[in-house]
């Protein structure tokens, strides 16, 4: 599975990076590399069934449990 994921990301990178490298857009390459690293890390965690806290769950806890401004269940 992880090989498949790396291959998919490789394919995406092959379509995204060459035009940027050709035109020498260093800033864009750095930003895009950061996003690819983040994406690959998250997908790898998912492939290995490692659960990580999502922002939506965090927001739900903040709204419902911490701030107590969520709507009651009907």
């Amino acid at each position: 599975m992880i090989v498949l994921v790396v291959m998919l990301f490789g394919l995406l990178a092959l379509s995204d990076f060459p035009p940027l490298l050709k035109s020498g857009k260093r800033y864009e390459i750095i930003v895009l590399s950061g996003l690819y690293a983040l994406g690959l890390a998250l997908v790898t965690l998912q492939v290995f069934d490692v659960s990580f806290p999502g922002p939506i769950k965090g927001l739900q806890i903040l709204i419902v449990d911490v701030l107590k401004i969520g709507y009651p269940e009907s």
Partner: protein, 365 residues
């Protein structure tokens, strides 16, 4: 000449966008039951002043999207923080809608297919649409809105013999608090979500007409939502509360002379098409917002990676449909209110106090 979005295209886009978000009716039924139609009317009324705020902002800054407006009004640092919040909001909506597609397809059509595969295929098509350009996509909305409206009316007529008007009784029987919650849910999770179209304002032929067109689109969509909700209540009665997908359950009852039967496949097709439209618009808003935030001229290079992030987010955001329903009914409307009401209102007030845009920014040399 560069193609621009006409007011009519925006109107249909807004209507299609809202009609796709009709799964909020499930939340509405749980709070208002047979009075859900009142929640839609109240939601429409409270969304009108919010839409006026959007209209006033678009009139003040006709050539700017919401990210550019925030930076112009709040300065570089605070403006960037607010822009990052908007981009996060668009991304979170895109993830939630993508998740809805995955759940819907897995439950109804392909129960044995892994959700990852469904989402990869779906987001691939959305990324292709975003790559080809958002203006073409808004052109499709006319067809989508027309087909949805015709199908809804057609299905309403086919279900006519199943309608039980006593299902609306007792009317006005809920606690006042429930009507307020219902109205807020409709406004924040459906009608005012058209805020995302603020990212398209610079691509409009007449940006100053954004507010008026958005109001017209919301009005059309409200009528469609009312018809759908009234139909569901009249046909299903109290079953609307327990059904996971009331609109889908209603269509299973259609059986006219063994000819018009199993029309739920039509619903499935149009529902997925509408969700494709929503996700594509939010996808575009996310990548264009992100690239504007980091001062990158073209968003094209970010399309693929944001698609991958959306898939990852959609797969991990909830562990079950129950968690999704809980989010929708307890926190989603409150979360959306910050981005759809408070931040735009603060932006408009700050722009008025600072007398923005000044003459030099209004007519650049």
């Amino acid at each position: 000449m560069k193609r621009k979005i006409s007011s009519a295209q925006l109107l249909f886009s807004v209507a299609s966008f809202i009609v796709a978000s009709r799964m909020i009716t499930k939340v509405l039924y749980s709070y208002l039951k047979q009075d859900s139609w009142i929640g839609i009317l109240l939601g429409y009324l409270i969304s009108l002043p919010v839409l006026m705020i959007y209209g006033a902002l678009a009139k003040r800054f006709p050539s700017k999207n919401i990210i550019e407006i925030s930076e112009a009004v709040f300065g570089k640092i605070l403006g960037k923080i607010i822009s990052a919040c908007y981009t996060f909001y668009f991304m979170s909506l895109a993830v939630l809608y993508t998740r809805s597609v995955g759940t819907f397809v897995k439950t109804i059509i392909l129960p044995n297919t892994p959700m990852a595969l469904i989402l990869i295929l779906f987001v691939f098509i959305c990324s292709w649409a975003v790559k080809k350009g958002i203006i073409g996509l808004t052109g499709c909305s006319t067809v989508l809105a027309a087909i949805s409206a015709v199908l809804i009316i057609f299905k309403f007529l086919l279900l006519f013999k199943e309608l039980e008007f006593k299902n609306f009784l007792p009317a006005f029987a809920m606690q006042p608090k429930n009507y307020l919650i219902g109205a807020h849910v409709v406004a924040a999770q459906s009608l005012c979500e058209i805020f995302v179209f603020f990212m398209l304002v610079p691509h409009m032929q007449k940006p100053e007409e954004f507010g008026r067109t958005a109001r017209a689109g919301v009005t059309v969509a409200t009528v469609i939502l009312l018809i759908v909700t009234a139909r569901d209540i009249a046909v299903l009665g109290s079953y609307t509360v327990v059904s996971t997908m009331p609109s889908f359950s209603v269509l299973r009852l259609i059986d006219v002379g063994d000819i018009f039967t199993r029309l739920e496949s039509l619903y499935t097709a149009i529902h997925i098409s509408l969700l494709f439209f929503n996700v594509s618009i939010l996808y575009y808003a996310t990548v264009s917002g992100f690239s504007r935030l980091l001062n990158v001229k073209s968003h094209q290079c970010f399309i693929h990676i944001f698609g991958a992030l959306m898939i990852t987010g959609a797969l991990s955001v909830f562990e079950s449909s129950y968690e999704h329903t809980q989010w929708n009914s307890s926190a989603a409307a409150i979360y959306a209110t910050l981005f759809l009401f408070f931040l735009p209102a603060a932006t408009l007030i700050a722009a008025a106090i600072r007398r923005l845009p000044g003459k030099e920014t209004e007519h650049p040399a």
